[in-house]
Amino acid sequence: MNEMHLALHGVAIKKHAPAAAVAAVVGLSAERTEALLKDAAASGRLMEAQGGYALTPAGRMILDNQYSRFCDALREDAAFIKAYERFERVNLELKQIVTDWQTLEVGGQKVRNDHSNADYDAEVLDRLGDLHERFAPVLAQLVKGLPRLARYGRALEHALEQAEAGKIEWVSEVRIESYHTVWFELHEDLLRVLGRVREE
């Protein structure tokens, strides 16, 4: 990807975010990202509101059309594709773990998990930690093909450690870089790079 495409790609993943957050996702410097985003805003590819950037319909079209140009090699990379397929398998597990974190099955019915049962929470968190460790070699394989993805490994590790230290909002809270937030961004990143479509 060239830097402009990379910056727009970052905006697509990190919605309504300031330049610094976009920079962190794509691994460019904050200053460079800021300049690129301002440039894109001036040419109508982005809109800026309350300090955050979002793609305009035209910007989205340009971005989407350019993936095939920049990502062709990766889309042909058998090892990368294989690692991506493993990601999708682990993704099913992750979604189940997050669901189990948010809900309790009580006598056959699903109710909201109010986190009053510490043993249950510890069990689910343990499963998340286990998934995280099993996912490490898969991510390493992905990073081989696309080095900037290493950033997700660090962000996932950070979220997990926060959650393990008792700050439970770091599992699935939407407004922070929780495990689920970061995981979802990684998923979105991979889908865009590989030109695939989310199923649900």
């Binding site: 919605k15 398998r89 682990v90 809900t103 019915q109 109710v111 049962n117 460790e133 099993r134 393990e164």
Partner: protein, 589 residues
């Protein structure tokens, strides 16, 4: 009596309880159930001393293989089955068990001991070749994931064991042994190795647990609920975990394994089916539930299997409960003399009471309403608004003060800003683990998912009521009712008990005199700012004061009176905050 079969190995029987540090929590609870005269599958335990020896030398103690043989022989005698051979094959579960449970330890491997020969024997014994094959597949899957730590593709149900083993070899470069003894030794070693996993080490460091403690390994005979008409499996709650009604509640599935119940492939029957089919076993089960509830002082969730007419209890633990049940358990168990009032109020959380008091659509209104769409209930609660299908429009109109319901085919991170702004949401595709379901629960927004293509998005422009509890989208704006804490006798009782113990007075209406109204103070709705805003005030209302963190901040700042309604969640949060303070003080000493 529990007896040593070697330096490192004990057989678990009734009688005096062995040292919990030596045999770990799981084996200890099996021993305790045996001690209460309850029937559990035979088990042996490798003590934590063997783990310590392994950690010292990096190798299993030389005598362990022979001791495990003695343990297996004991299990064979106790179960009347043979390890790795027919006609009745003995399969075992292998689980880790330290004295203190901690994250990062190895998960349980089930059905260990199966290979082509024992699969054939199991097929002949059960008369069900598909079951035997599935048992084999599930063992290989667990062994590969847990012992070999593989990220495995699904092992296809219709393939052969040879094909499954090949998939595992391709993924991991390692083979699963066919010799049951080798399977067992490898699994034991994997448990010991998991003691030094990153998470286990970190947890011990954080909690000051010595690294030298080590973990025990429990090896327990598997029992089968699908061998004949006198076999089955089920779950029993000592009381109803949904409503709280003080009557046993459960499900039973004749001629089935536990996984059949979980998989949802079969519909379990109510417990009365067991009473009809095997009345003596049913009576024994209810008596066991009563014993366990009394001994543990809490409602129990018991997994059981009946093998050829004999009852086995697999696990008993405090039951997970729906909020209304948490309230009723607490009040009823005090009246029955099983727990005291202080325990009762510690068993109900502020959040559970908020759910009980949360707005809902009445049964009568729901029955009379027109259902426009139905799907899976993803997040409880009720939201009313106009259906909007474009996420940016939904956000813009919500910010302008309109009440909107966001309806999408599916959602993605592109939609989160609209989900934040709307009253409720609905999707056409996806289940309870879909993006929309996960995010709605994180936000606490009522949500129904998987309503079917061209259902909810076709409602654009209509006013609807999204009932995230029932999984329905109703036409029009239905009346939303809010339950009253004072009108409910159970909640009123809890208020009385909580009030008598609360470190802070909680009033529904503000008293006369000076008071801090956080609604009139900048930052008063921000929990992080309360520790700076509260000192010097004794009576406080508004802002974020009624939340758990708000109450904690009030207690720490020396506030004596809070004004909030409903009162019970605040009282329970105050009691919880007080318990935390006491625990922290005790830890500091």
């Amino acid at each position: 009596m529990t007896q040593f079969l070697g330096e490192f190995l004990l057989a678990i029987e009734g009688g005096a309880l062995p040292d919990r540090n030596l045999i770990g929590g799981k084996a200890w609870s099996i021993a305790r159930m045996r001690g209460l005269g309850l029937s559990v599958p035979p088990a042996v335990v490798i003590t934590a001393r063997a783990c310590t020896a392994f950690l010292d030398t990096g190798e299993l103690p030389p005598s362990l293989a022979a001791e495990l043989d003695a343990g297996i022989a004991w299990l064979e005698a106790a179960s009347g089955a043979r390890f790795g051979a027919g006609p009745q094959p003995l399969l075992v579960s292998v689980r880790s068990g330290a004295a203190i449970s901690m994250p990062g330890m190895m998960d349980t491997v089930l059905n260990l001991g199966i290979n082509d020969d024992t699969e054939a024997a199991l097929a002949a014994l059960s008369g069900d070749a598909a079951f035997a094959s599935d048992t084999h597949r599930r063992f290989l899957d667990l062994y590969a994931r847990i012992v070999l730590k593989a990220t495995l593709p699904e092992l296809a149900e219709d393939a052969t064991p040879e094909r499954w083993r090949q998939t595992i070899r391709e993924e991991t470069g390692e083979a699963v042994p066919t010799d049951p003894r080798a399977q067992l030794l490898n699994a034991v070693q994997a448990v010991f190795e998991s003691w030094n996993s990153r998470r286990a080490r970190k947890y011990r460091e954080h909690h000051g647990i010595p690294d030298t403690l080590g973990t025990a390994v429990t090896v327990q005979a598997m029992v089968f609920g699908n061998l004949d008409a006198q076999s089955g499996t089920g779950v029993l709650f000592s009381r109803n975990p949904l409503t709280g009604e003080p009557a046993p509640y459960g499900e039973y599935l004749a001629r089935a394994q536990g996984e059949d119940v979980v998989s949802g492939r079969f519909t379990p029957q109510p417990l009365s089916a067991l009473a009809d089919q095997l009345p003596a076993v049913h009576a024994e089960l209810l008596a066991a539930a009563e014993t366990l509830e009394r001994e543990n002082g809490d409602v129990q969730d018991i997994e059981f299997t009946i093998q050829q007419g004999k009852l086995f209890l697999l696990q008993s633990r405090s039951a997970k409960r729906a909020p209304p049940a948490a309230v009723r358990f607490a009040v009823d168990m005090v009246k029955e003399g099983r727990i005291d009032e202080a325990t009762a109020v510690s068993r109900v959380t502020a959040e559970q009471v908020r759910v009980v008091l949360s707005p809902c659509v009445s049964d009568a209104d729901a029955a009379a309403a027109t259902v426009l769409a139905s799907g899976e209930a993803a997040c409880q609660g009720v939201g009313v608004g106009e259906v909007v299908v474009n996420t940016d429009d939904a956000e813009r109109r919500a910010l302008a003060g309109e009440q909107v319901v966001l309806a999408r085919l599916i959602t993605s991170p592109d939609d989160v800003h609209g989900m934040l702004a709307c009253q409720a949401m609905a999707t056409e595709r996806g289940g309870t683990t879909s993006h929309a379901a996960v995010v709605s629960r994180a936000l606490g927004k009522p949500c129904v998912v998987g309503c079917g293509v061209d259902t909810v998005t076709a409602l654009a422009g209509q006013i609807v009521t999204v009932d995230g509890t029932r999984g329905k989208i109703y036409a029009g704006a239905l009346p939303v009712i809010a339950p009253d804490e004072n009108a409910d006798p159970l909640l009123a009782t809890l208020i009385r008990w909580a009030e008598a113990r609360s470190p802070i007075t909680v009033l529904a209406t503000p008293p006369a005199g000076p008071l801090l109204d956080l609604n009139t103070v900048s930052g008063g709705e921000d929990e992080d700012q309360l520790p700076a805003l509260l000192p010097g005030h004794t009576v406080v209302k508004g802002g974020a004061i009624a939340s758990e963190r708000g109450v904690r901040a009030a207690l720490a700042a020396g506030v004596t009176t809070l004004c909030a309604s409903p009162r019970l969640p605040v009282l329970l949060a105050a009691l919880e905050a007080q318990r935390q303070l006491q625990t922290n003080t005790a830890n500091d000493k």
